[in-house]
Amino acid sequence: MIDWIWGLAGGLLIGSAAALFLLVNGRIMGASGLLGGFLDGSGRNNMAERLAFIAGLVVVPMLALPFVTTQTNLTPNLLIVIIAGLLVGVGTRLANGCTSGHGVCGISRLSLRGIGATAVYLLTGGVTLLVFRHILGVI
């Protein structure tokens, strides 16, 4: 019951972060785009901005850790972790966005691409759970 209150509060923070990045820096807050453009060099004219964003995203949760109880509960099966990571990396770069870029920033703009992308990744995510958890029983 308390989970959805934290979800809503955290969601409002995420949306505020995206609003700040948009209204001040004039940029879309998309995690995969900011990281991907940094890694493949396509974002070479704003590398410092990207690095600063990533630094805040990585370091601040660590500083907050003493005040919260959290676990990632990631599967211990490293083969699944590697396959999942590769799929997420290739998929988000091909689609040019992930849950933050297409989901948060795209849907709120009523962008067809954001809404379409979100519908597709929710669908394949749901099918993946159905197949790999309930039929094959591996996750």
């Binding site: 001040v24 601040v60 799929l87 997420v88 759970l129």
Partner: protein
């Protein structure tokens, strides 16, 4: 200034992901697991995040960003194959591990070896995408 606000925005994003429970893969997989113990938390997170952004987009109309430049133009309303295939692959990976790029970075310092392995694989996939796309395009043209 751009760097300070980028840092602040990343920090706020990370706190939001942590607070909302999105760094916990069981909550993400629970949302996608419609046929199991369904967990609606993610809907509140996404809904909560869309609210400030809905107003932010309204505020961009007829204005420019505080630090200059211009707002990103709205993309043409086209659902191309790359968007659909990419989103489909992303959704499959997201379902398998319960991590997407934001939470993968936010949990990097406390997600253990598995979290680091996921991040490295994701980064490798990102770096491999432009050449991979070039190769597929070349094959497709020749076929």
């Amino acid at each position: 200034m751009r760097i300070i606000f980028s840092l602040a925005s990343g920090a706020l994003f990370g706190l939001g992901l942590l607070l909302s429970g999105m760094t916990d893969t069981t909550k993400v997989q629970g949302w996608l697991d419609v046929f199991g113990a369904w967990d609606p938390t993610l809907a509140f997170v996404l809904g909560g995040a869309i609210i400030p952004m809905f107003f932010a987009w309204r505020l961009t109309e007829g204005r420019i960003p505080k630090l200059g430049g211009s707002f990103p133009p709205k993309p043409a309303p086209v659902l191309d194959r790359q968007l659909i295939v990419g989103s489909a692959l992303f959704g499959a990976g997201w379902g398998l591990a319960g991590l997407c790029p934001g939470p993968a970075m936010a949990s990097l310092t406390f997600g253990g070896i598995g979290g680091i392995v996921f991040f490295v694989a994701m980064a490798a996939g990102m770096i491999a995408t432009p050449p991979l796309r070039g190769w597929v395009d070349a094959r497709y043209r020749n076929a």
